[in-house]
């Protein structure tokens, strides 16, 4: 039985900012309204709503999905919120995909929102409670610990240099300079800037890290028969994959993200991709920290293990390179309102594959892209392959 084809037909997003005036409801509404306008639909056309937001601790509302649902257009609609930590932003379109692919709905609005600035005084403190309450939290861990532990393991295993890894942050922040919604775009940033930035948790420095941000993104998904009626430029969801590794993260070798590999293989199989490096033309891997991109590119089978950095050293990753990586500017440049940041990558592929990315447009009429997010205790991989 062939699967029902599902297309992205519209997208919208707010600016990503450090502190938004808007409430989570209002951010969701702003993105949702834009997404509807972009494909000239109204709420009457929407059959169901999928919503993504990462931990309730950020927005500061228990059952945050319920609270923000009206802004996402859920009034008198089937509404569900899915949740896979940092992977949520690329999972919520998968949730939308199976809503439509199941045959139960034809047009679905997918919204992802995060208002990290509500956590006071600093959003990072919310991450204490992602650790095991009995065996780990008593040690006072923070999110930087696990990133730093993973980065160190990765760097040391492959003998990578910090000045090379810093080129990831530089490229993404430069790319973001062309994004109208970006928080940290900077066309002039250099490797030295990254290396001279404050050491947070060695080997992680300030500019290795994406900024805490607020924002929302929305897309509209439609079944094939509807999509073809509504647009002559549908972008198809060709493959989806998601995977969760063990919660006992200290029992794993952090050098390689198998969960990303498994998620990618699932998505590639569905998309019929056999040689990802040749068949994928744009990649939006998850980049909350610069080394993570390398990790993820390897998990996505776009580079051999320990060698993803070469894509940055030889120019392949640049916007006009052979495999543009994060032409949006990514989380490092555009910002990281967790769930919204992941869905931003889907929106970016949508615009890129339609040739509507303006200044950020990747040359050569790219035909296929992959977006990926990651989250939890370095544990979850979510992957979407899109093509036209």
């Amino acid at each position: 039985m062939g699967m029902r084809k599902v297309a992205v037909i519209g997208a919208g997003m707010t600016r990503f900012v450090r502190r938004a005036l808007e409430t989570p409801k209002e951010l969701s509404w702003e993105a949702a309204r834009m997404a509807l306008e972009s494909c000239e639909l109204t709420m009457d056309d929407i059959d169901a709503v999928c919503f993504g937001t990462a931990p309730d601790a950020f927005d500061g509302v228990h059952m945050n999905g319920e609270y923000a649902s009206d802004g996402a257009g859920a009034w008198r609609k089937p509404f569900m919120r899915s949740f896979v930590g940092g992977g949520t932003g690329v999972f919520v379109p998968i949730q939308g995909w199976y809503h439509v692919a199941s045959g139960m709905f034809d047009v679905v609005l997918v919204v992802a929102e995060e208002k990290m600035s509500s956590f006071y005084p600093h959003a990072q403190a919310a991450f204490l409670t992602i650790f095991d309450h009995t065996t780990e939290r008593a040690l006072g861990p923070n999110l930087l610990w696990i990133f730093a532990l993973e980065m160190n393991r990765y760097m040391t295993t492959y003998g990578l240099k910090k000045e090379d890894i810093a080129r990831v942050a530089v490229l993404h922040k430069r790319n973001a300079a062309a994004h109208p919604c970006a928080l940290l775009g900077d066309p002039n940033i250099t490797v030295e800037d990254v290396l001279n930035s404050e050491v947070l948790a060695w080997p992680v420095q300030r500019l290795d890290v994406s900024p805490v941000s607020d924002g929302a993104v929305a897309i509209v998904l439609a079944a094939e028969h509807v999509a073809k009626r509504l647009t002559d430029k549908p972008v198809w969801i060709e493959g989806v994959g998601w995977n969760l590794d063990t919660a006992y993260w200290t029992n794993r070798d952090l050098v390689y993200p198998r969960y990303v590999e498994y998620a990618a293989r699932m998505a590639y199989e569905m998309a019929g991709i056999k040689e990802p490096r040749k068949e994928i033309h744009i990649a939006e891997p998850y980049d909350p920290f610069d080394y993570k991109v390398l990790h993820h590119l390897e998990g996505l089978q776009l580079a051999p293990r320990g060698r993803a950095i070469e894509l940055y050293l030889d120019g392949t990753a640049e916007r006009d390179g052979d495999l543009p990586i994060c032409p949006s500017g990514g989380l490092l440049g555009v910002g990281n309102p967790i769930a919204a940041a992941g869905l931003m990558k889907i929106a970016e592929l949508f615009w890129q594959l339609r040739g509507e990315a303006g200044e950020r447009q990747v040359p050569g009429n790219p035909r296929r892209g992959v977006a990926q997010a990651w989250g939890d205790l370095m544990q979850v991989g979510t992957v979407v392959v899109m093509g036209r």
């Binding site: 945050n64 649902s69 899915s82 999972f91 199976y98 969760l244 006992y248 969960y259």
Partner: protein
């Protein structure tokens, strides 16, 4: 896409007000082992996708989906968490199977309510932080206001609401999984301590601990696995306005819509005559009556007198909450919809024992996410 979806295995653990012998992971594991044995599957080999239902502040962990996979046999598999009731999880499983991306899906929910020391302040954090929370009100006020408006609009009486408690806790006496079986008089409920007038404290379901795992399968797999799969013929879910200021108070339009969605899939036109038993939300006693009306089981304002006439009794024309419901079994937080699903499966298999509804062929399961939400879901199951 026209793929039918069946329940091929159920498992549970706990079902006691406290489960001090087991951690939440161990509670989940015990339920999973039972469910996999019931379905005759090996999770490491056979299951394509896992769905859990949970909320961070209930678990006391941010990004609580992290801790799902190990004890379900789901490591390095497709796992997602839905922040919804168990029926939202069930609906997710149905969609995964109908889409063709999975053939066997496991849905998990659990309650460790006994581990939460501050349930009221956690629930209060679900109120709008600017409009409502500054009043510093216990969130039960939402139920008190809803009950009052419901009684006002529908003509239902406080006595009729109290009678729901009497019925459900008596049903619970026959259910070995129920924590709160009791033989109460109407007066004992009606003149018990107040909570949020007109709502009394004994009309609010106490919580209980437990884990529930349900195994879903596509039609061909289900038929290969067992002779008596339970079919999910319809499933619907819907929200109303989340804001207290602009929602409906006397009616449950979101539940009406969720029911219509489920009925349309199941081909049900006349719920009263086509459904043999219903497991319906009774987080608060009045909700059972209000929900039955929204489900179209009877007309608006009619459920109370039908209840008094015995129609919803275990041996009545339309048994409601034969398990004892949340009032009798105990409220299981996000797992509540799965508790009701478990009951429906046992009933449809004829395995419900002392509270078996004779000849049950079609069961309705419904759930609500509690105050202050307007989120409801409905499933229609058949044997």
């Amino acid at each position: 896409m026209s793929q039918q979806v069946a329940i091929v295995g159920v498992g549970w653990s706990g079902f006691r007000p406290k489960t001090p012998d087991l951690s939440y992971k161990e509670l989940m594991y015990e339920a999973a082992v039972r469910a996999y044995a019931d379905a005759g599957i090996d999770p490491r080999r056979d299951v394509d996708s896992f769905v859990s239902v949970a909320e961070d502040f209930i678990e006391g962990t941010s990004i609580t989906d992290e801790y799902v996979p190990d004890q379900l046999g789901a490591v390095l598999k497709s796992v997602q968490t839905i922040t919804g009731d168990g029926l939202h999880g069930l609906a997710t499983g149905v969609m995964l199977i109908r889409s063709g991306i999975a053939r066997i899906v496991v849905v998990e929910g659990h309650s460790k309510a006994s581990n939460i020391l501050t349930p009221d302040t956690i629930t209060a954090y679900a109120q709008d932080p600017v409009l409502n929370r500054p009043l510093r009100l216990n969130t039960h006020f939402v139920a008190g206001m809803e009950m009052h408006r419901y009684l006002y609009e529908s003509g239902t009486t406080r006595e009729q609401c109290a009678a729901v408690v009497v019925k459900n806790r008596r049903n619970a006496l026959r259910n070995p999984l129920a924590s709160y079986g009791a033989d109460l008089s109407l007066d004992e409920v009606l003149f018990g301590p107040p909570l949020a007038w007109p709502l009394g404290k004994r009309e609010a379901a106490p919580t209980t601990d437990g884990g529930i795992v349900v195994v879903l399968a596509s039609e061909d797999v289900a038929r290969a696995l067992r002779e008596d799969p339970i079919w999910i013929r319809g499933i619907g879910w819907c929200n109303d306005s989340p804001s207290l200021e602009s929602r409906e108070w006397g009616n449950l339009p979101y539940l009406q819509q969720a029911a219509q969605m489920a009925y349309a899939q199941a081909g049900i036109r006349d719920p009263w005559n086509e459904i043999d038993l219903a497991e319906v939300d009774d987080t608060y006693a009045y909700k059972e009556l209000q929900s039955l009306e929204a489900l179209g089981v009877c007309g608006y304002g009619e459920a109370g007198s039908l209840l008094e006439a015995g129609a919803f009794d275990l041996d009545g024309e339309f048994p409601v909450n034969p398990s004892g419901g949340s009032l009798g079994v105990g409220h299981m937080l996000e797992a509540t919809g799965l508790m009701r699903t478990l009951e429906a499966v046992l009933q449809l298999r004829g395995e419900a024992g002392a509270h078996q509804v004779e000849g049950a062929e079609v069961a309705l399961v419904q759930s609500w996410r509690g105050v202050p939400t307007t989120s409801g879901a409905v499933a229609i199951l058949t044997n």
